[in-house]
Symmetry: C2
């Protein structure tokens, strides 16, 4: 997605109302784009390192962050915006590599419950640990107050991005 360097970005960053033209806002938007791009490239690189496709990594993320809530193929399909066959194929790959197990659903015999294995947790630890190590000084050098501002902003930005994605469906 183009950042503020490109023509259309600057021309259309304020489609309905006047956008925020403060230089701090421009810099923040550019920084968000750069961070999003680096995150995507890190995902792709770790995927190559672990022989996992991007979809597989995202699937693991959903399974591993579901808490006590059982994860079914249906739920994964919705969370990842994948078709049913693609979700099945992804689970085939993760199962073959020993990252997940399909278990019978406790009260719906059409379905299965997907659980992550210890191997998956090891891989996740390695991935998160690597970026966590590099991120530690970035976090440590900020005060609690600054981190709270940053966190709140990113939460709001995530919601806004999700709304923009929903806008695509309603305008198509």
């Amino acid at each position: 997605m183009p950042d503020h360097h490109s023509r259309p970005a600057e021309a259309t960053a304020r489609p309905h109302s006047h956008g925020d033209r403060r230089p701090e806002a421009v810099r923040a938007v550019r920084a968000m784009a750069a961070f999003a791009t680096e995150s995507e490239m890190y995902l792709a690189a770790t995927g190559r390192d672990e022989a996992l496709h991007r979809t597989d990594l995202n699937g693991l993320r959903v399974v591993m962050s579901s808490g006590d809530e059982p994860v079914t193929p249906r739920r994964l399909s919705q969370a990842l915006q994948l078709s049913a066959p693609a979700t099945s194929a992804m689970l085939d790959r993760l199962e073959r590599l020993g990252h997940v197990e399909r278990r019978p659903h406790p009260h719906d015999r059409r379905s299965v419950v997907v659980v992550a294995t210890d191997h998956a947790h090891t891989v996740g630890a390695s991935m998160f640990g690597r970026v966590g190590a590099r991120m530690a000084p970035v976090l440590a050098s900020r005060s609690a107050g600054e981190l709270a501002v940053i966190a709140q902003f990113l939460e709001d930005a995530a919601v806004a991005t999700g709304s923009a994605r929903a806008d695509i469906r309603t305008t198509s």
Copy 2:
């Protein structure tokens, strides 16, 4: 990539030195993961909307944000971590859809220079405009001082993520 909900994340967020265990830091890391995930999903959704693969969108981003520097297939290949044939195929797709043009390189006849068309700028404007509209109130509600803190943090976080990606190559 697993966020803090998962076991390995918490267990390994401090691989060498003690990580930042302040609740504000935990919240910030989680917010970064959520924002990165939403950004990736927005990219995928707009890609589907415009019949453009994720690689194509990233390619356009590189072409459109290159300023005066000529973009060659070689440079695109490096920026996107794609093989030469994959870069060629991507340019084929973008050219066929009228988003880019391949022009003769001014002083290296082996190469070409890739330029974005007005059509590409229109698409970029639409994509950025949509998310820009949703992001506008998020930016407008922050002071210049807050935005400066946020931007600096995300720039540092992007560098840290890039370093983590480089770490993959050296430890593999």
